[in-house]
Amino acid sequence: MTCKDLAERLGAYRAGELPLGARAALLFHAGMCPCCRALLSTYDVTVALSAELAERQVPDAVALEFDSMIERAMTLAAPS
């Protein structure tokens, strides 16, 4: 496995979808290659940062206004 192969298989590896042989080859390569270990760690950081960018809950405006939004939808889109 080359560094490029590893980069291409990283998504499947992190999703737990790499077949056993390919997984072993990836881990073996990473064990020997500091560059790919750095790729692994920075890839994980990138994914983890993205997850932190979600809104934890719907804003109050949605919770408070939602019933009026539904009413408005049924009024705006009234069948002619």
């Binding site: 080359t2 999703a15 750095a38 932190e52 809104e55 939602f66 539904i70 069948p79």
Partner: protein, 203 residues
């Protein structure tokens, strides 16, 4: 205390939801909207990252849904149907507000020599343990996603921000799941690459 919606509208609750919806049962529609509220908002917000815009998309979604409700089939997956409407509205809004064209994503081959060795070696990033530093990095990442083509950014938003499953994204976008996974990984590699360049420049 407010009455349950079914009593407020005198709903024919014994009928299957789709049939009640098709006959424009207001209580059924209200119930449906509440069931999917958070997910619809999540789709709208993660794709646009603007609260007011997400609220507008949510309103447009409900309006479009009610308008076309008579076209529902018995086997329509209601969550997917609503999600697709929300995503379409989000896409329209993004298209109308895009200020500068997206950049092309790198060709992965350009990062490696002919024997598959990485040309510019990866290095670890400084640990960002405190919330402030992590927040800064996350905001950098958001800025970098603006450089992505819309379809790549959308997959990133739905998968990595909103944490929807690959299957769900496949249904929403009409892409095969394998295709979603490949493109998402490609996008993550690109974002990682751009972020690495920024962090190196900042040191």
């Amino acid at each position: 205390m407010a009455l349950p919606v079914s009593q407020r509208y005198g709903s024919r609750v014994s009928l299957p939801l789709v049939q009640r919806l098709r006959s424009r049962d207001r209580a059924a529609f209200t119930e449906l909207c509440h069931t999917h509220r958070d997910r619809l908002y999540g789709i709208a917000w993660s794709v646009t990252r603007e609260r007011q815009e997400a609220l507008d998309i949510l309103q447009d979604t409900l309006t479009s849904a009610w308008r076309s409700i008579e076209q529902l089939q018995d086997d329509t997956a209601l969550g997917a149907w609503l999600g697709q409407i929300a995503l379409n509205h989000a896409r329209m809004r993004l298209r109308s507000r895009r200020r500068k064209p997206a950049e092309a994503m790198d060709d992965i081959d350009a990062w490696y020599d002919d024997s598959g060795h990485r040309l510019e070696q990866h290095t670890r990033w400084p640990r960002a343990d405190d919330a402030l530093e992590r927040g800064r990095m996350a905001q950098r990442l958001v800025a970098l996603t603006q450089r992505l083509p819309d379809d790549a950014r959308e997959l990133w938003a739905l998968a990595d921000v909103e944490q929807l499953s690959m299957q769900e994204i496949g249904v929403l976008t009409g892409l095969h799941v394998a295709n979603v996974k490949t493109r998402l990984h490609r996008t993550r590699l690109q974002l990682r690459e751009w972020l690495a360049i920024e962090l190196k420049g900042a040191r």
